[in-house]
Amino acid sequence: MTAEAAIRAFGLFQESARAHVRLLPDPDNRRPSDGRLLVALAKYETLVREVSTRTEEAQERYVETGERLQALRAKTRVRDHLFSLGSQANLVRETDQLAVEFRWVSTEARNLSDYAERLTMDLAETWRRYAGNAATFIALLESVLPARVVAKGALAGPDMRGGLPAEIADAVEATQVDLRLLTANLRRYQQFGTQYIVCQKRVLLGDDMGLGKTIQVLAAMCHLAAQGKKHFFVVAPNSVLINWEREVKKHTKLNPIVVHGGDRDDELEQWQREGGVAITTYTTLGRLVDKITAFDLLAVDEAHSVKNPETQRTQSVVRLSGLTEHVVFMSGTALENRLSELQFLVTTVQPKVSAEVASLLKQVRPVPAEVRMQLAPVYLRRTQADVLTELPDLTETDEVVPLESADIEAYRMSPDNLMHKRLAATIGAGGQQSAKFDRLRELLEGYQEDGRKVAVFSFFRQVLDDVSTVVGGCPQIHGSISAEERQLVLDRFAAKEGFGVLALQIEAGGVGINLQCAQVVILMEPQFKPSTEKQAIARVRRMGQTRKVNAHRLISKGTVDEALVLLVEQKKQVFEDYAQHSSVKDASGMAIDAGSAAMEELRGIIAKA
């Protein structure tokens, strides 16, 4: 062993350490170096906004004036002009005009340069802005950093190409997109997703929750709009209608038109006349679909809800997708229960692959690589681990609580029905005195001391009311509030300083909303689907989150909760095997059905109770 080897090992260590640096300034630990970086980013953002367009104009006018001067010089060489007094007067006048133009350019350029030199950013204000909108800072940073820095791991994850075969991925990367009408900065992986949509035309965008599927679709619309296309159509759950409208306004120069409620026919006509981004719900779509003619791009948000071919909403979406060249199905949870659901989504969005995919998936043990190849033209999925290496840590804790005797009795006495058992496992004998509520109080006390915001999720309205009682009243989001009210609640919760609790019904608050302002998730009971829990956590731990996130799942010992945990684990494995990696390990083990071991156990527990 030599000194040379030690030096080499030191170099390798440095490289490895460098590759693992996470560029995510922590607002709770404000290091001066991070502050300098944020200030540099804030300054750059301001300069781009205030100076870049005017710089281009000054440059263009300078070049144009220079060309006119050249032309004038050429003219003065023509002898005829010298003998004409009129011509000389014209030349002097033209020259004066050019001088005035050059002086305008000088003044403008000097003023802008001086402005840039004098520009200072307030450090505290910059940290405040960053804490409220980290995603913008990170996207800006990624757009500025040379690829070599990103490639070394400071920002990019291992695979923004979602494991696509090189042939497709290269074609996607070679696709030019015109984003003049987009007002947001795209992350590199988002740009790739946008190129994928534009290049492949009919796709299922299966990115993990929180990676910004919406912005990628909006960017694709902006590209098409820049090419002269005008009509874009979004179908989304009612709960995210307002959010879509806001996102269109916030990130693009396109015009959103919500087609919903009593004025829907007029709104549809307006869209057909003027163009823009029509946004409607699955329910309203059924009443509109026959009036819609050819258009330019269809986006179907939370597309996993159209997996049943028998339902009217699915049929409406299928019909709509036949009216346009570009179709994007968006779903981070393309496979919820059965492989056939993913197959249905994929083949609906792109009927061309239908035969191949169907024949592959009929096999007992399809070859993963083959399936991968077949799905690649249609299905792009990146996980948070693939692309968001800067995300703060997530600590997940299962809080298994033993029931007190009164709660055990209440649990036994509850009706022999799964939902009643689930509720009883949480509320026990009632009055917010159950073991879970005791644990909830302890958790909230701790987070109140830390000044953290907490999102508490439950399936049950009654549990939300109990949570609210425990904290002396807190805002709620559930299925009965309107989309406008929901947005108001979210905005107020985000604006509130320090500790706060928001109680959300998991089916209503788990999709399409952003809760980066919170740092804690408490799931009051296990859910049926892994995606339901994952989506709830991803509302908080998503792009733009700068703080460590804690997720607690409350489980009552010896109750239906424990069997549900098993069931969820089993389903999670199915998703891992198939949709996560787009590869099939064992087709026969993919479907979770009523005869599965976990379901049997669930029945057993209910029976024993």
Binding site: F10, L37, L91, R110
Partner: protein, 96 residues
Amino acid sequence: MQVRSGRGGVHADAGFASEQVKRLTQVLPKARAEIIAATEAVIQEAVLAEMKATPIAELKDFGASVGPLQSVGFRTVADLSGRSFGSLLNYRGSAT
């Protein structure tokens, strides 16, 4: 005939405009360079902190024989920072 503007040579105005435009076109690249330098500083700081927190023994995973280094008092990876091949040779036992 010489082309002149009312307040002096148009060429002088053009020259001054050229200087100012050149200065202006440096504004955004300079701001980007500041970001890159600030990023590099953050990375360097994080790498140094990692080196200080890592016992020298972990260099084994990178192919170094750490016994000789430990025997001359090196405790963390950061202790190797700034050492050249020549300076390491001065430590008895590091080159065998």
